[in-house]
């Protein structure tokens, strides 16, 4: 190839996946906000016939934010971080560019069709794994292509040592591959019923308690390898790079990595406390969940200590604010999770609104904040333009931070109220409340959650607008900024 021309990083794939991250983020959060409003105002279920009901929309919300928004964010940041820390450009390999583009289009079309299929009620009815088998096959092909991209880029690298972020992306690749394959083992009902069933509709190869165990081993570790591992990989690159400070302790990052790998996979059974799974397995789930605090806080504290002596940056760089808040929310949700996994606490928390409260302080405060921060950092490098508006970014930060706080506080109160009311008995041992009593009491909290959803969505639109304006009318930069992201 052109060995004389100055070699530069090729951000074309990063850009494409950034667009998808924003598109799927908006769609997923819009649907999330609609279903939150439906919980508060049930009439909203009947606006679009069967297509607008909570049961149709909820899987669209979860799958779009997980497999659409977050996974696009993982791909966008991989094609950026991967090149930079391995010191090799995608432009150096036509093969890897081809694989990357193939993967992009397959993923984009596949994800759109899969979302539409959920709208039409084509679902395997396993939580977070609703896609039917043809879409599962597309997911597998896309994932393998991504694996080829990752391994390929590692294969042609100049930097021999793999930076800690690369380890996390590798773990994400391997973890999701294993989980997705095992949990989605299914047989079309057509083959299981001598032709009576449907070719598109499948049933799990596992049954009863085993199915539940595999499902929650998957469900919980999808959180691990989708919402935790790659996002930690992102912050390990973007926070040091943006602040100009090397990771506080590289050794701690290695230890936290292996700690997370060893511990996370055993914690899934905490979703099945007080159920029919063996007692020792429930205890194991609880114990490992508590131990999980150590590697999680190991990474989070490492990030906060990276800012040691540089805390002034927090006041004058909103991007640092986003990342420090993300890290703090990571700490909050990784202490909250283990608390919920303690058997006696779980007796109150299970099946209540405290659980979505926990999930959302993690995803809204940690995952989305970190992915947005990553895009804010990458945009001036990818488009060679200054961030369009610092003020807009600050306003977005505060609006969304207040939204997250409203979300989780309302759900904490709702969840604990619900749990207590379900268990309340009178002096004769009769249940004191019927289900509808709890619904009446919870109404204001559901309304607050819907409001917080609207606020967060508006914040996301501000983010999308800021990126759009950066691309189209941000001040042009003559050279790539080294550390701090320039913003107007």
């Amino acid at each position: 190839m052109q060995s004389n021309a100055a070699l530069e990083y090729d951000y074309s794939l990063s850009k494409k996946f950034t667009f998808l991250t924003i598109l799927f983020g908006f769609l997923g959060m819009l649907v999330g906000t609609i279903i939150a409003a439906q919980m508060a105002f049930p009439e909203l279920n009947y606006l679009l016939g069967e297509y607008g009901t909570f049961s149709r929309l909820r899987p669209i919300h979860t799958n779009t934010v997980v497999f659409g928004f977050t996974v696009s964010g993982i791909f966008a940041t991989w094609y950026y971080i991967g090149q930079r820390v391995l010191k090799v450009s995608m432009a150096e390999s036509k093969f890897l560019m081809f694989i990357g583009n193939l993967m992009f289009w397959l993923y984009f079309v596949g994800a759109l069709l899969a979302t539409i299929s959920l709208l039409f009620g084509v679902s395997s009815s396993k939580e977070y794994a609703q896609y039917e088998w043809p879409f599962d096959l597309v997911v597998v092909v896309v994932w393998v292509l991504w694996g080829v991209s990752v391994m390929g880029l590692i294969g042609i690298r100049r930097e021999k040592a793999l930076y800690i972020s690369v380890w996390y992306y590798l773990a994400c690749f391997l973890g999701i591959a294993m989980l997705y394959l095992f949990n989605n083992m299914a047989i079309p009902t057509y083959f299981a019923t001598e032709g009576l069933g449907n070719i598109l509709h499948s049933v799990s190869m596992y049954s009863g308690t085993n199915d539940a165990l595999v499902q929650w081993w998957y469900g919980h570790n999808a959180v691990a390898f989708g919402f935790t591992v790659p996002i930690v990989g992102m912050i390990y690159y973007f926070l040091p790079k943006e602040s100009g400070q090397a990771i506080y302790s590289y050794k701690l990052s290695l230890l936290s990595f292996w700690g997370l790998m060893f511990v996370y996979l055993w914690a899934g059974s905490h979703h099945l406390l007080w159920s029919t799974v063996p007692d020792w397995m429930q205890t194991m789930g609880s114990a490992f969940s508590v131990v999980l605090i150590l590697p999680s806080w190991g990474s989070a504290i490492n990030m906060l200590l990276t800012m040691k002596g540089e805390w002034n940056q927090l006041t004058d760089n909103p991007l640092i604010k986003f990342m420090v808040l993300a890290s703090t929310f990571y700490m909050l949700s990784t202490i909250e999770g283990p608390i919920q996994a303690i058997r006696s606490v779980n007796a109150i928390a299970h099946f209540t609104d405290w659980i979505p409260g926990h999930v959302h302080d993690g995803v809204l405060g940690w995952v989305v904040f970190m992915i947005m921060a990553a895009i804010f950092h990458m945009a001036p490098r990818m488009f060679r333009r200054e961030i369009y508006s610092k003020k807009l970014m600050e306003a977005q930060f505060w609006l969304q931070t207040i939204a997250v706080v409203l979300y989780f506080t309302s759900m904490w109160i709702a969840g604990i109220t619900q749990g207590m009311m379900w268990r309340a008995v009178d002096e004769y041992g009769n249940l004191m409340y019927s289900f509808i009593d709890t619904v009446t009491v919870l109404h204001p909290y559901y309304a607050i959650r819907a409001l917080s959803g609207v606020m967060y969505l508006v914040g996301f639109l501000m983010f999308a607008y800021n990126i759009y304006k950066t691309m189209t009318s941000g001040r042009q930069l003559s050279e790539e900024p080294q550390f701090r992201t320039p913003m107007a």
Partner: protein
């Protein structure tokens, strides 16, 4: 029989947990000891994120033989 298998699974899980704990503690000792002996300097890898231009000198270069192979195949 069923009960026996479950018990066995429980004990295996316990033994595995202990094994993993020992491994992790051993890993901490390994990290600090190899740094103390001067065999490795882990903290230098933190620089990979900061100095990450495509023209930057790698913190740890790939062996010359591997690089030549790559150059030939460009």
């Amino acid at each position: 029989m069923d009960m026996d298998l479950r018990n066995l699974q429980g004990y295996a899980s316990f033994a595995m947990s202990i094994f993993l704990v020992v491994m992790l503690y051993w890993y901490i000792i390994h990290l600090y000891r190899s740094e103390k002996k001067g065999e490795r300097d882990y903290e230098k890898y933190g620089k990979i994120a900061l100095d990450d231009e495509v023209t930057s000198t790698p913190v740890e270069d790939k062996p010359a033989s591997e690089r030549e192979y790559k150059e030939e195949n460009k």
